[in-house]
């Protein structure tokens, strides 16, 4: 798999609301990607995964009412 294919697949999973799959896919597939990701590709991937993880956390927090007791930020 090429870097752009990895990025496209992660983006597609996140856009489909399948954030957990996106995170798992990147972790499992990333090490085998050739050639290695450039700095820009790595920054794009890190950002997309950040967004995916944040959505998951927000959804989980809402489900357990955690934002109601968030102390400050």
């Amino acid at each position: 798999m090429t870097p752009e294919q990895l990025l496209a697949q992660v983006a597609a999973l996140v856009a489909a609301g399948r954030e957990q799959e996106a995170l798992g896919f990147a972790r499992a597939t990333g090490p085998g990607v050739r050639p290695a990701l450039t700095a820009d590709q790595f920054a794009r991937l890190g950002g997309m995964l950040e967004g995916a993880a944040m959505t998951l956390d927000l959804a989980e927090a809402e489900a357990r009412g955690a934002t109601k007791v968030a102390r400050a930020s």
Binding site: P31, L58, T67, S73
Partner: protein, 267 residues
């Protein structure tokens, strides 16, 4: 250039950052000091050293003081910033709803040591800190899941503005590029200042940026021309929902197409 005071050891910094003191000033102004600080942090993290807390606190204090000086203060975190991670192929960082902030040591290691871009790790640190401004809206996922561009484009746009334009750092410009350019072309089309727009949107909780967006744009546009009509605000919402949709996250921005899209809202 007129805003930049030509004095002090780091004249490339904007005046607000030049007023920082000691280590915080050095970490914002000196690229070599910054790289060494990230390398020290990574050394301590990999060694499992008790020096890690000090290394994290050193950079974090500089980030906090810098954001405070720029009028974008970070709210109190539940715990000190944590360095986590087992794979480079994971989120670069994450601000949690319960006020914790994690940064990936493995991602940071790849950026700092392998790719030679410690300034990109500084950008990530600032980006995550910009999410930490207010309690998240309880239903924030309803905005963030389908429309990540509102929050992430604003946070990333501000993060790059801060580290690049205000501090002269050289991070990658690729993260959330589509959303950042969408904001930049919006302000071009409407004749408003992009920094003001981002700062106004930053005042709202994560999960409330989309809701506030048309009113904020209309108010800023009114300072130059006239407030948007309700029909224009409706079209603005529709265009923004399209351009800030999560499905656009990996697209390459095209300035002409983005500008044309925004202009349809002004008809």
């Amino acid at each position: 250039m007129t805003r930049r005071a030509q004095r002090g050891p780091y004249p490339h910094l904007v005046p607000e950052l030049q007023h920082l003191r000691g280590d915080a000033l050095a970490l914002w102004g000196d690229a070599v000091a910054r790289r060494h600080a990230f390398e020290d942090l990574l050394d301590a993290w990999e060694a499992g050293s008790i020096r890690l807390a000090t290394a994290v606190e050193r950079i974090d204090a500089a980030v906090v003081q810098g954001l405070e000086a720029l009028g974008l203060p970070r709210d109190t975190l539940l715990d000190p910033v944590s360095i986590v991670g087992t794979s480079p192929y994971e989120p670069a960082g994450q601000k949690f709803a319960d006020c914790r902030l994690h940064l990936s040591g493995t991602h940071m290691d790849r950026m700092v040591r392998t790719l030679g871009l410690p300034d990109d790790s500084a950008r990530t640190w600032v980006h995550e800190s910009l999410h930490a401004r207010l309690a998240y809206a309880e239903d924030a996922a309803r905005e963030h899941r389908p429309f990540k561009g509102y929050e992430e484009g604003m946070a990333e746009g501000l993060a790059r503005l801060i580290v690049q334009e205000k501090a002269g750092m050289r991070p990658s410009e690729a993260s959330y590029a589509y959303f950042v350019y969408a904001y930049r072309t919006l302000t071009g089309a409407f004749g408003i200042d992009v920094e003001r727009l981002w700062r106004e949107l930053w005042r709202f909780s994560v999960g409330r940026v989309r809701e506030s967006f048309p009113d904020v744009v209309s108010r800023l546009a009114a300072e130059r021309t006239a407030p948007l009509t309700s029909a224009q605000q409706g079209r603005l919402r529709a265009v923004a929902d399209t351009l800030f949709a999560t499905s656009r996250m990996n697209q390459m921005p095209h300035e002409g197409a983005l500008m044309a899209a925004w202009r349809t809202a002004l008809r």
